[in-house]
């Protein structure tokens, strides 16, 4: 399956990465060759195989319902590119 420029544009929108025309062109090439490589899997019949759900043969461990986290606003906001001591601040959404 080759990945044309429109597909690259579509995926990049989903992945929220902006790309210029040259990049789109390069990526179309690269991704197509990667997809060609990946499509080797089509040679293999996997009709009756259950997909792997987890490498680990164990059950999901759970924790007790206790509050012992949070109240660390300073830490949470410390690395933020823009905040006002209480909130994260981001450019407005257009909805």
């Amino acid at each position: 399956m080759s990945i044309d420029k429109d597909t690259v544009k579509h995926i990049s929108k989903l992945a929220k990465i902006s790309l210029d025309e040259k990049k789109i062109s390069d990526l179309s090439k690269d991704l197509s060759s990667i997809m060609k490589f990946i499509e080797k899997l089509n040679k293999l019949n996997t009709d009756n195989i259950t997909p792997l759900t987890s490498i680990i043969n164990a059950s999901l461990k759970s924790r007790i319902d206790e509050v012992n986290d949070g109240k660390i606003r300073d830490q949470i906001l410390k690395n933020s590119p823009e905040n006002n001591e209480e909130f994260f601040v981001v450019p407005k959404v257009i909805d």
Partner: protein, 484 residues
Amino acid sequence: MSNISQLSLTKIVKGIKKKEFTSEEVTKVFIANSKKSKKLNTYITECFDEALISAKNFDKKKDYNGLLSGIPIAIKDLFCTKDIKTTAGSKILNNFIPTYESTVTKNLWSQGAFLLGKLNCDEFAMGSSNETSFFGNVINPYGEKIVPGGSSGGSASALAAELTPATIGTDTGGSIRQPASFTGTVGLKPTYGRCSRWGIVAFASSLDQAGPMTKNVEDCALLLQAMSSYDPKDSTSIDIKVENYSSKLTEKVKGLKIGIPKEYRVDDMPVEIDSLWKKGIDYLKDAGAVIKNISLPHTMYALPTYYIVAPAEASSNLARYDGVKYGHRAKGNNLIEMYENTRSEGFGNEVKRRILIGTYVLSSGYYDAYYLKAQKVRQLIKNDFDKSFTEVDAILTPSTPSSAFKIGDKTDDPISMYLNDIFTVPVNLSGLPAISVPAGYDKNNLPLGLQLIGKPFDEQTILNLSLAIEKRVNFKKNFKNWWC
């Protein structure tokens, strides 16, 4: 004094305990070596001042109870270290200072070690040559134009060049074992779930594992024990007792059955790799192991499977890098623009490729054909190993299909770069432990490694087998310091 950096980790630990030298002396040596070696570009963040203070404090307190008492250690910049910049080799995190410590590094510090610095790596652990880092290429001490392998290239290079007595890396498709092979060092990827992933910048959650990278097998056993623990903060961490790998380490491997998978003899296999493999078989035979031919029929599908699963998980794991909470933020007139510019500016080309592939294979209409299919094939690959391990105790293969290549050789063609991982990737897909041990040189005097793959949580067996090989190979470093 400079002899200290030639010693193994184990010997340095013993030496500090026996008061043959102080932690400060040890630390000064590695700092001096590191400062002289900027050409190798192994460090992203140096913590030399802090390390010296820690060393001096250690010498005052004299607490020799830890497995790594008084040891300075530099680590891959994928482990979040409290108050020390952690970049994952990426522009998008190049100003990120975690307020928390990863479980694995916490374990090291609790064993008496302290941080020497953060080592360079491929961006977000995506790469096999350490050529994708935002902070520039890492050079292999074996040659100015040679790659060290990746993604733990900085770790492998620093280790081989004696800038750190040992180090830790992460392995998702071979990122510990392949650079170990390229730099003549030992690298082990533990069983999935052996080491905690909490606080490690995630690449592909079902494949990532932290592991030790050391000069020899004895060091590897020691460091593995120090790193490993069950972590309730990681739902994929397994609660199995951590063995004292060092005390059980032995080269007595008589009677162990070693599987030789025929499918690993790939088309166009370089003669040198094949003969290295044969030598490995001979070494183990000599040690009393029994050699058995086995078949892992789905081996050829491992790389394509990996290049669906890993990018898919990565595309989701890297969605959090959006400029909102931490890291790089670009300008944008609205939220979406800010996202798109931030991620465009912040991610390098390889990361972008993988995010886009990952997004594509998960997208509507393609999920069944790619991701679901890959998970089925993954089951088949795992089944191959499970079946083989009813007949053998370990599997011997080459670590890499070639020795270290030249910088720039494979950067134009992603697929040729991916093929580096052909022997290592099946192991991650199956969650098994595997180690690369230096086993010889190619005709260009570049190191080659042999890989031993073990049963789940049977790191001891592959450590022992590696020791048997190591003792017979008698691998010696054959490069001179050309960079300072």
